[in-house]
């Protein structure tokens, strides 16, 4: 320890051994990986005329990767699907299989990332978002996902008064503020890069993870959201549903916390909580739905022929606190998501029901019998 030269050699040796392993050793092990066909011949050789994966990005997408790196997107987004035993990524629908080193060999900048304030993007291109949707998201994420924390990037766009068809229409969160923006070349590069992010091929070392049917919820959910966004649902209905979904999914003061029992997919839980998707109660009479949303429900109830017996406290945090608007929105949402389709509920209708119940003690839950018209 007293001889500086020996000390220096000592501390560099300890560092050097780790360097040998992680830098020299790892490079020796997989530094010469190249694209490969999805399956090899039985003798391990590459079949003739097989397509090789991963494929190289187009020039536009490569430039987009530079933009992605330069704007610091990697600070909040990872691009790696973890192995099934070490993470929930595949279950969440973020990929068909875990990512492997070979997926990245053609990238100049490997942007794996290590923080997920935003979702993983390794397979963004598989989620079937339209270019328009991605542009809207880049310009102002909150215009399509109201709760998003992703910062808007208005500097990649130019606001246009007289739009041409290739311009992007942005509807503000409040619904009345419609703007048209023209993507810059940088925005187009970014979108082209984002659309190119997909690990949709198998490799000799990794196969797609088999998903049981009920585990495909997340992927399904993402697809549903996309479908809603890009389908022909009128704007006003879309806004009411978005607002309703927020009430449905919010587990903090001012929210409805509905999803904790009825589940985000509206399927409920067998034997305990009835489903909302396809439910005769949800798609039926509005008035009793409104009543349940104000006062809750207890005792036996038959939904789609199945009996449930449980207690539903008056919805909302604190209980019974949902406003007329919130009830109208959340009911509209549950009547129109998960394959449901029924008329929307307006705040006026809710107010009318509320007026008719004047005098009923707060928190006094309804029973199914009370709500079923006497025959």
């Amino acid at each position: 320890m007293n001889n500086l030269a020996k000390f220096t050699i000592g501390i560099f040796l300890t560092l050097g051994i780790a360097w040998l392993a992680f830098v020299v050793g790892a490079r020796e092990q997989y530094g010469d990986l190249v694209p490969s066909p999805q399956v090899l011949d039985e003798d391990g050789s590459i079949p003739a005329d097989a397509d090789l994966f991963p494929v190289d990005l187009t020039g536009m997408a490569k430039q987009g990767a530079e933009e992605y790196a330069s704007l610091g997107c990697v600070t909040c987004h990872t691009q790696q699907v973890r192995r099934v035993e070490t993470g929930f990524d595949v279950e969440r629908g973020w990929g068909k299989r875990p990512s492997v080193p070979r997926d990245y060999v053609l990238q100049d900048h490997v942007l794996l990332g290590n923080s997920r304030i935003g979702p993983d993007l390794a397979n963004l291109g598989l989620r079937e978002y339209s270019d328009e949707w991605l542009h809207q998201h880049l310009f102002e994420p909150q215009s399509i996902i109201p709760s998003s924390l992703c910062p808007p990037s208005p500097y990649l766009y130019q606001e246009i008064d007289e739009p041409v068809p290739s311009d992007i229409e942005i509807t503000g969160a409040d619904g009345d503020d419609v703007r048209n923006v023209r993507p810059s070349i940088r925005a187009n590069r970014l979108v082209s890069y984002l659309q190119s992010l997909k690990q949709d091929y198998e490799l000799p070392e990794v196969a797609f993870v088999e998903q049981p049917a009920d585990k495909e919820i997340a992927t399904q959910e993402i697809k549903d959201t996309t479908a809603i966004v890009s389908s022909s649902v009128p704007d006003w209905l879309q806004q009411q549903m978005d607002a309703g979904k927020e009430v449905y999914m919010k587990a903090a003061a001012g929210g409805g916390m509905c999803f904790t029992c009825h589940q985000p997919n509206g399927e409920g839980m067998a034997g305990q909580f009835p489903p909302l998707a396809g439910s005769d109660w949800v798609l039926g009479d509005k008035e009793r739905l409104i009543k349940i949303s104000m006062y809750g429900l207890m005792g036996e109830i038959e939904v789609n022929g199945v009996k449930y017996n449980n207690v539903m406290a008056p919805p909302g945090i604190p209980p019974g606190s949902l406003t007329d608007d919130q009830i109208a929105n959340v009911l509209t949402y549950i009547r129109n998501d998960w394959g449901n389709s029924a008329s929307a509920v307006s705040a006026e209708e809710v107010a009318a029901v509320r007026a008719s119940l004047e005098g009923r003690a707060p928190m006094q839950m309804f029973t199914a019998a009370e709500l079923t018209p006497a025959e």
Binding site: L15, L71, T75, E85, G93, D103, P119, P151
Partner: protein, 467 residues
């Protein structure tokens, strides 16, 4: 003059250099605090400053980490290491002119580096995001400073070396080695695919374990006996602790790659070595705390030591938590969550910075001959303590929530998962405001002692230089 004690002469020789590095460190600390606030504010309101391309969340977050580690950390390391080495070697600081020139280059390099990041020239490698153009300037200026630190050490009066010297010298020497390894693997002989990530992750984490950590440990090994006037309890363990860190830390850091697209042996080794790290952690904490708790009243009364012991406690706790979080079963939940922020802030703020604050409050009056008002120091201590604890709690609880909710695939991402941790972002924003305030007090404390009369700043500077 001739009747001055040797310590006084050494302190005088270090005065200019110490003051220079410390005042630059203070400015970087405030810069980092400003960026930290901006980043936290952007997480609570995504529209905050969203029209300014130079200030995207991604860029600010990165700029903050770089300003903190290289700006504040680097300058503070230079100031404290030079002084402690000089004191322990009983040798004067020589080559002040070259030290200051190198320091100016270092600071300019970081300034341009941060501007480069904000202007969109981020390299994308962890803790090496500054554009490659400034890397040579950083390396050269660093080598000059390290060389002059070694000169001090070589001219020491006592041949026998002790723990603070090992830790500080090792840190000074490890940094350029790490930097060159990363430079070589990332830019010169560029690795392909995820090898890049393995290397940049290894560099980024090693920077904290092999650069910031040993300097802070060295300072603690120096300050605790110096203030208490007693030797380190079970000192014979220190050498074991040192070599454990040297041998294990560079292996343990890669456990962060768990489950990712890298060969499985890499995170597996990382986890095993992380668990082995309990030995050096236990050694350091036994050495520090067994000594300090023999005389806890004195620790409490001495403000510098209070900072140091807060730092060492924080080191112990954070390192053990780090071991737990490296276990694959736990990492499955905590990986990629804002627990990362907990680790980073616990290390660089709760541990490293707190010990540096203590060292500065101990050294500054001796070097300048002027006392810092006790009230101001005390205010700094309490606001820092409160701010750090608030910040760390928010990141820890928020991070666990983040991980647990993210693990339930049925929860929608932005509204249910991220929506539920949003309150914690608000708490971190408040904590960063408190910390910024606290750091401002620290910097004002330091600047008032270094430059008692700002108007005569130039004149003093010239006189000092000619001494």
């Amino acid at each position: 003059m001739t009747t001055d004690s040797p310590d006084k002469i050494i302190d005088r020789s270090a005065k200019l250099v110490f003051s220079f590095f410390l005042s630059s460190a203070g400015l970087w600390l405030l810069t980092a605090a400003f960026f930290a606030y901006l980043a936290a504010a952007k997480l609570t309101d995504p529209f905050f400053l969203s029209t300014c391309e130079f200030l995207t969340y991604g860029k600010i977050k990165v700029a903050q980490a770089n300003a903190f580690v290289y700006g504040w950390g680097g300058n503070a390391i230079f100031a404290v290491s030079l002084w402690i080495l000089a004191r322990l070697s009983q040798a004067e600081v020589r080559g002040s002119f070259f030290l200051i020139v190198a320091g100016v280059i270092w600071n300019l390099a970081i300034t341009f580096g941060l501007l480069g990041i904000l202007d969109g020239h981020m390299s994308g490698h962890e803790m090496l995001e500054m554009p490659t153009e400034v890397w040579p300037a950083m390396l050269i200026s660093y080598l000059i400073i390290t060389f002059l630190a070694l000169v001090i050490h070589r001219s020491r009066q006592i041949k026998e070396t002790i723990a603070p010297q090992w830790f500080i010298l090792a840190a000074l020497l490890w940094f350029p080695a790490l930097f060159l390894i990363a430079w070589h693997g990332l830019e010169i002989n560029t690795a392909r695919g995820t090898l890049q990530t393995v290397l940049s992750m290894w560099y980024g984490q090693s920077l904290i374990w092999l650069w910031l950590t040993p300097v802070a440990l060295g300072a603690a090994y120096y300050l605790i006996p110096a203030v208490l006037g007693r030797t380190i309890d079970k000192y014979y363990l220190a050498i074991f602790g040192f070599w454990c860190i040297a041998a294990l830390a560079p292996w343990s850091v890669v456990h962060h790659l768990e489950g990712g697209p890298v060969p499985m042996w890499i995170p597996a080794i990382g986890t095993v070595m992380s668990i082995a790290m309990v030995f050096p952690i236990a050694v350091a904490s036994t050495n520090f705390h067994a000594t300090a708790f023999l005389d806890i009243g004195k620790v409490w009364d001495s403000l510098p030591l209070r900072f140091v012991i807060f730092g060492t406690l924080s080191y112990t706790v954070s390192s053990y938590i780090g071991v737990v979080f490296s276990l694959p079963a736990v990492a499955k939940i905590t990986q990629f969550t804002i627990i990362n922020e907990f680790h980073f802030n616990q290390r660089v703020y709760g541990f490293f910075s707190m010990i540096i604050f203590g060292a500065v409050y101990f050294a500054l009056p001796r070097i300048t001959g002027r006392e810092i008002p006790i009230g101001a120091k005390s205010f700094h201590f309490w606001t820092s303590t409160f701010g750090v604890l608030l910040l760390l709690l928010a990141y820890l609880i928020g991070g666990l929530t983040h991980g647990v909710l993210a693990g339930q695939p049925s929860l929608e991402w932005s509204s249910a998962v991220i929506g539920s941790i949003q309150p914690y972002f608000l708490i971190t924003k408040i904590a960063f405001v408190i910390l910024a305030f606290s750091q401002l007090v620290f910097v004002v404390n330091v600047w008032r002692v270094i430059f008692p009369n700002p108007l005569s700043l130039l004149a003093t500077g010239n006189k000092e230089a000619s001494v």
